[in-house]
Symmetry: C2
Subunit: 415 residues, 2 copies
């Protein structure tokens, strides 16, 4: 992709009205644009990162047997009164039309899904199954803040699984635990499996927490065996209940939350199936959330320096950025830039080519560090004289002069 064709609009300074690192750097780097408190546009660069995150999540959900669907955001009041959450959920956006119809904007989709399943689940032969979506959600947060960490409109993956028995659901719950660990590993994010309260539905749940100062949660984790517990349910003593090791307190960002719904909503919606004995039985369910836009914010919180973002390899907007220097009067450099760029594309390398003619070397280097592509490749009159190209990792200091052949090998050319 050429810089000039991708609407990349970096700013000289971070926005004055943001405090968190992710909000500042993502806005300055042209990844997001703020529309209102907690409401952001994903600009092409940011949308590209979010897509990479969501595609990794999608692949792993599919491997875990989930079928993808898309439920609506506009929910008639009736289904929310069935569960009592029309009144009890304070973050629910509610609206009433002139003709008197009332709707909630979906912050989560148990109500929609259970209403739907009443038509489709009849027998134990219909179970188990799991369904998920990756979708925009709405929550009327009183204090939307911290950029992508707590928004009024945000992106989320929500998976729901349905089972004959709690035992079967518990087995699947363990599968998804492993799937989440794999997802966060692929995303380049160290997310700690943490015991957490179960909310209104069940006694226990698990969160995936990323240690970061910007986090709103507090966790205690054992330095010896890694057991982690959310402060809300921690006993408060300073030793690990499992191994007796010392525990440390840390601020953390919750990027995922999985919990057994048990029969709670099945009871509300009378979601029953005929079991093997022919009797009606309530469906047992689990639900598994993962905030994809929050993951994007959390990664920036833990992976940046004073110059900008340092994207992990798998979700960087591009794998490499190609820069040509000294375009004024150096037609040869431009020509060489075009040749290398086209060769990169032909070799399947995911490259951003900073082809701006009006930008100087300083601006191009500053922007490259800001947007945080993992590898920077430079072509200048000097490198051409030496018949080499300069390559540098974003997360490193060493610049290397390499041959064209070595460069393509390093970048993992497919051909």
């Amino acid at each position: 992709m050429r810089w000039s064709e991708f609407f990349i609009k970096t700013q000289r300074y971070p926005p004055a009205d943001e405090e968190s690192a992710n909000a500042k750097l993502l806005a300055q780097g042209g990844f997001i644009g703020k529309l209102a408190s907690g409401i952001y546009t994903f600009l092409p660069l940011g949308w590209r990162v979010l897509n990479k995150i969501e595609n990794i999540v999608r692949e792993e959900m599919s491997l875990a047997g989930g079928a993808e669907l898309l439920m609506p955001s506009l929910h008639p009041k009736e289904i929310w009164t069935v569960t009592g959450r029309w009144d009890s959920l304070d973050i629910l956006f509610r609206l009433k039309t002139n003709s008197g119809s009332e709707y909630a904007l979906g912050p989560t989709h148990e109500e929609v899904l259970y209403a739907l399943l009443a038509h489709h689940v009849k027998s134990y032969k219909d179970l188990p199954f799991s369904l998920y979506q990756i979708q925009t959600k709405f929550r009327n947060e009183p204090r939307a803040k911290s950029g992508l960490l707590r928004g009024r409109e945000f992106r989320m993956k929500d998976l729901y699984s349905f089972h004959e028995s709690d035992e079967d659901r518990d087995l699947y719950y363990e599968t998804i635990k492993k799937t989440y660990i794999k997802i966060f590993s692929r995303l380049g994010l160290n997310a700690i499996l943490t015991e957490a309260p179960g909310g209104t539905f069940s006694e226990r749940s698990h969160e995936f927490q990323v240690i970061a100062e910007a986090g709103e949660d507090t966790i205690y984790y054992c330095v010896k065996c890694n057991l982690a517990v959310n402060k809300e349910i921690a006993a408060g003593d300073s030793t690990c209940r499992k191994c007796g090791g010392a525990t440390e307190e840390a601020k953390a960002i919750e990027v995922g939350n999985i919990f057994p719904l048990k029969e709670k909503y099945a009871r509300d919606f009378n979601l029953v199936f005929k079991n093997k004995s022919g009797a009606n039985q309530l469906v047992s369910a689990g639900c598994y959330g993962l905030g994809t836009s929050r993951v994007m914010g959390a990664i920036v919180e833990v992976a940046h320096d004073e110059q900008g973002i340092i994207w992990p390899e798998n979700i960087a907007p591009f794998k490499a950025e190609l820069i040509t220097l000294g375009s004024n009067g150096s037609a040869n450099v431009s020509k060489e830039g075009e040749r290398i760029y086209k060769k990169m594309l032909a070799n399947g390398i995911d490259v951003l080519y900073d082809d701006r003619r009006e930008a100087g070397a300083g601006e191009k280097f500053k922007d490259a560090d800001l947007i945080g592509v993992p590898r920077r490749v430079v072509i200048s009159a000097e490198t051409m004289k030496k018949k080499k190209l300069e390559i540098k990792k974003r997360n490193g200091k060493k610049m290397e002069l390499v041959s064209e052949e070595k460069l393509f090998k390093t970048l993992g050319a497919k051909k």
Copy 2:
């Protein structure tokens, strides 16, 4: 994909509360589920079709130079008062929170985009560019009806282009006209380019209309030269104003609408750039909509028979459906089914395998016709005896017995 793993829930009868062919067949076939009037869930089968439609649109938008982004759905009232549309747009969903914040739910995104661009467009060097998104939209339709043809919540692609001059914009407008023609052709949909009124912004616009009884528009088209005009601006006589040929009247579904926005919103948001003479000038723009979920509905309206849907090749949920018959006591057929299914996957064939053990031949054939996959492949004790497989096009009557080799060749095996 196996039938048993994709949450395909066909119904014996179409829903009683729907009238249009698309609403009936898509619900009966397990593509969509109705939550409320004009509000549908895309079930895995339907989501798969919609994704194929949207990916074709995405590819062509990208080829036309568009960069993809995602704008929010929750719009603060302030930006809608700038254009006066907070009050004038009757289909706008408006909501007010307890703390007094007012929002609109995005039916279109000029307001959001122009507010964003005020930060990013400064000089003629920043122009031209084009941005698009594929997104869920909201319209408070007084009479939501006809399934996916007119919804309160629906999917749409909206592209916006920005230019130094009307001349440059007109050139791009012609490019997008050609792009749309290509898109509809790839989607297997005969959409007629139709002259239409310009709304509040400009004197002219163009619609892409699909002739169908379920359509809400009326167009006049020339049987000789194909010139088509929306009834709203037609002069009313029965001869073509271009070639003098006879015109015919037809009901039609509008699946796309492109029009020049000119300087309308640039004036509202003071979106100016420094032109080559250094003077401030208003940005000229065009906007280009395409209803992706409506396209899905329109295709069903024009491509079905009494048995079900007949999906065009490119957007069918699967290219082929594999059916094994007589599973009771015929372990050989099941085994052969598994072998052929795995070979299809290994050969990159997009196949749905109806592996249901409890379903009989009649049910499997009925469901195959209902969900409308282009090619049906059958394995039975009989075909095995002949060392052949049976293949039949959904849109044809002839069943053919072919060798395994011929089958894979017909299905376009990649290996």
